[in-house]
Symmetry: C2
Subunit: 390 residues, 2 copies
């Protein structure tokens, strides 16, 4: 089973009607969540930041098609009403319901549609693969494919679904992730594990650098498989989050290639991550990858403006398609150019034809590494986001 219902105690249902979708996921357990850092936050995020303090969920309700942002008091009332609707369906109380929204900013929710959809799908809640897939489909907006990830470890399973990243979509952005495990952990353990995993996955995806008002990731532990090793769990959770993050990068608007940037031997993991994010987010790097150009000048120029101190003369830059690796420049020496090293340049150009491009930047200035994911910048991105009108 590939989706969230591979986790014991997780029941899902979903429906998508035109641009309005609704997912219900019932899973009783300790829970934690992380939210967008944008100052402008959606009404459900305001509500959840407070509610998640109690560290327990009986399930979540998620609508797509309307983000419930910039909707004032009415928006908060609507988010609360969503919790009530789901609580009724799950026979519990609204304070044990997670609420999330994604879609257009600045419109009031059609709460009647949500209520109607909920009534129709609540009887369909199931603990099987199809149910998880339906839920993942229901939360999509402009995503081209649903995102599932699963990691099975001895004694427990971690699985999650997600939808498209950041503000990639025209007014319809948002990254949402719902992750489950049947291992038993306290809310504090879940929170600390999720913070680290999200930082190493979702927070390292750059599609266009815009951060949504609605981003959130929830984790619920049903505990039905009992206690598990915390380190083992953290590693499984990170694996699931990274898989979802990479799928989000691959599905970036208009993307033709996935870009993975790894920065190695940095003074700290934070520094490595900052450089990796800056490189993968650089419009010049993104367009070079689109044009299949191994333009290492743009790579070092982007690395150099990340605000991290390192020794530019110590840096080695290479690219790979996953099989073949070409070192482009090492410690101030150019190793791939059209004059002195035309063969290496040709080889580098060849491997840029792949669908996944791996960029490796070795700072030789410390011992920490970090990886970030993104996608190329294409005319299609401009078309999608420029031609869309309010």
């Amino acid at each position: 089973m590939k989706s969230i219902c591979a986790v014991e105690g997780v029941y899902a249902a979903g429906i998508k009607e035109g641009k309005f979708g609704l997912a219900l996921i019932r899973a009783k357990g300790t829970a934690a969540a992380v939210f967008t850092k944008n100052l402008f936050v959606a009404a459900p995020v305001i509500l959840m930041k407070e509610r998640m303090e109690n560290g327990f969920l009986d399930g979540v309700i998620v609508n797509s098609g309307n983000a419930n942002v910039y909707t004032g008091e009415q928006g908060l009332l609507d988010a609360r009403r969503m919790a009530e609707i789901a609580a009724e369906a799950f026979s519990t109380t609204p304070d044990k319901i997670g609420v999330a929204s994604t879609g257009v900013i600045g419109r009031f929710l059609h709460i009647d549609i949500i209520e109607d959809q909920c009534k129709r799908i609540a009887p369909l809640l199931k603990h099987d693969e199809e149910a998880g897939i339906n839920a993942a489909n229901a939360i999509m907006t402009t995503d081209l494919f649903p995102k599932h990830a699963i990691c099975e470890r001895p004694g427990f399973t971690v699985a999650g679904i997600a939808k498209g990243s950041g503000m990639i979509a025209p007014n319809m952005g948002t990254m949402l992730a719902f992750i489950y495990t049947d291992a038993d952990f306290t809310k504090d353990e879940l929170k600390s594990a999720l913070l680290v995993a999200a930082d190493r996955s979702f927070n390292r995806v750059v599609v266009d650098g815009d951060t949504s008002t609605n981003d959130c990731a929830f984790i619920t532990a049903t505990g039905l498989k009992g206690k598990a090793d915390f380190g083992e769990f953290c590693s499984a959770l990170e694996e699931v989050c990274i898989s979802l993050a990479k799928q989000i990068a691959e599905d970036g608007e208009g993307a033709t290639k996935m870009i993975e940037v790894t920065v190695r031997n940095a003074p700290s993991e934070e520094d490595a991550a900052e450089i990796a994010r800056t490189v993968v987010g650089s419009p010049l790097v993104k367009t070079a990858v689109y044009g299949e150009d191994p333009n290492w000048g743009r790579l070092i120029a982007a690395a150099g403006r990340a605000g991290v101190v390192f020794d530019p003369d110590a840096v080695t830059v290479s690219i790979s398609d996953g099989d073949v690796t070409v070192v482009l420049a090492r410690k101030g020496e150019i190793l791939a150019d059209d004059k002195i090293h035309p063969d290496a340049l040709l080889k580098a150009k060849g491997l840029m034809h792949g669908k996944k491009i791996f960029i490796d930047i070795d700072l030789d200035y410390g011992e920490y590494s970090a990886t970030a994911w993104g996608c190329d910048l294409t005319e299609k991105y401009v078309e999608i986001n420029g031609k869309y009108t309010t």
Copy 2:
């Protein structure tokens, strides 16, 4: 006279042959400069950071077509050689020569071409409008038009030339500016005035957010008109730098519209500038402007992720074409949408047809303002930067 030779004591010459251009500007006086903050810096920047300590220039030599970056010891020797070549032409010593380069990264300079071009244009150095225009043309790479600015004040003049911004160009990026005044100031006065003016102009232009390895701005005061009021000079210098910055934004690669974002009533000028830069640099804002969509959801989402603390409920957002202004949202209330305020939305859409779009974000959370400039993001930008190959 519209170019730098309007300043007493400034003589210029320039030549452009294919992609290789050379400008000579002779102007004897106190001088100061500001440089790129990128860790990877061009050889001439390394040289100039040290040389400009003495605060005096007899002139500058600038080549286009090769950035002299990632060229190691040879690059430094070449930058020094450029200073020698110009010193010979100006009958002075190399330590009084400013050197700047723009063009491709990772290639050794064709110093023979530079020497030959210098020999041919040195006899053409003139104190007239055409000479200034020739110099501005010579430093262009992918710029579509040369950039001149002048401000005449009682008793003195400030004038400058510049070339394209940031890393906007395919491997050929860089913002260079050469500014002159005939007022008399010390190097410390020039330095402090230039730091403030550059911060309020060049540092507030975002074309694609990439920072070049070669960016620099030089100012020389010939002093031929004697002492002037320092405050008056600072204001004239800022006017010239802002004019050049706006021209750079207008000439962004593939741009069809100039975007000016003003953030008002912020806790500090720095905060206001950070928000203005974030909004004007947002790919979603840039594509919305390209698509002529008054998409205020993207404006507030970008403002909210700038890393500045303010009260989202106090914000007012409006747009203008310079004549007509439409308030889109005020303190949590939507004032232009397709449901309740369709007339205002229609009016807002209408003024998006202009070539210059002014965005005003009033935080009502302090008393400081800042403006940033940029341009829209178009398929043409992707084409220019994606289709270019090393």
